[in-house]
């Protein structure tokens, strides 16, 4: 709970949690990213079918644009991989001994699986494709 500590953003960013703090923060950010994307998607579909309002088209245009799609891909992939790592560590606590190696292995899987499709999407986007 709240302990009345007031830590500035600059000081907070220098917190020595390093890699695992980054993993925690990214898990939180990507989770909220997925929630916003899925929520917007559901609301757009709901208003399109139930009311037929223009707001659906507006929302759809935003989340179907390539930059948002790349961000969503980052969110889903990171959240899934990081969540699987947390499950493995929680269910087999002896593995916590190797938590650093697990995190590096996670990045080793994440970077190519995210990077290649994101690169292709970005190239297609920059060359005027969909």
């Amino acid at each position: 709970m709240y302990r009345g500590r007031h830590v500035g953003y600059l000081e907070g960013s220098r917190y020595k949690g390093s890699t695992h703090m980054l993993a925690w923060a990214l898990h939180r950010i990507t989770g909220l990213g997925i929630l916003i994307f899925v929520g917007a998607h559901v609301i757009a579909a709901f208003f399109l079918n139930a009311i037929g309002d223009n707001i659906s088209t507006t929302i759809t245009t935003v989340y179907e644009s390539t930059p948002v799609q790349i961000f969503i891909y980052f969110c889903v992939l990171y959240h899934a991989l990081n969540g699987l790592r947390l499950i493995v560590e929680d269910l087999w606590p002896p593995l916590l001994q190797y938590h650093r190696e697990l995190l590096w292995f996670q990045w080793l899987v994440f970077l190519p699986v995210f990077g290649l499709p994101a690169f292709l999407m970005l190239m297609s986007y920059l060359s005027g494709g969909a």
Binding site: Y2, G31, L35, G39, V42, A45, D90
Partner: protein, 141 residues
């Protein structure tokens, strides 16, 4: 700041903690099964990979309507996929909004503001469930 482990003594918190783990795996399995099914019934030649994944993570027929699928019935639209989509949607909504509640509890400290914020999370959750049920079962007026 909340630790990764649930507060001891609270059965609900513990249940939700377990649920978050199980539902995370379940969502991946449900998505993978739908993608595999999609490919087995012809999705490999009828649609691109984006449409396959749209189907995988929310198997409702309008996710494949704009592809080359000639007829969405019976492979892509029946009660099985409606219940499948509802299960996936329900599990995902609980997982997501429980996560949002935990984030809100981390950053909102004033008791009445916290109560209000959690109330808003509950309202959003219920509205999303309603909207999802309307979309899946086509309960349009």
């Amino acid at each position: 700041m909340r630790s990764r482990y649930p507060d001891s003594g609270s059965t609900l918190e513990y249940t939700l903690w377990i649920f978050t783990r199980l539902s995370g795996v379940l969502m991946l399995l449900l998505g993978a099964f739908a993608v595999v099914y999609n490919n087995l019934v012809g999705g490999r030649t009828l649609m691109d990979i984006a449409a396959q994944y749209r189907w995988g993570f929310f198997p409702t027929y309008w996710h494949v309507q704009n592809t080359n699928v000639p007829d969405v019935f019976p492979n892509w639209s029946n009660s099985f996929w409606q219940i499948y989509a509802l299960l996936l949607f329900l599990v995902a909504a609980i997982h997501g909004f429980n996560g949002l509640r935990i984030v809100v509890e981390d950053y909102v400290h004033r008791p009445y503001l916290l109560l209000f914020a959690k109330g808003m999370v509950a309202v959003l959750f219920l509205f999303t469930l309603f909207a999802g049920a309307v979309i899946i079962f086509e309960l349009f007026v």
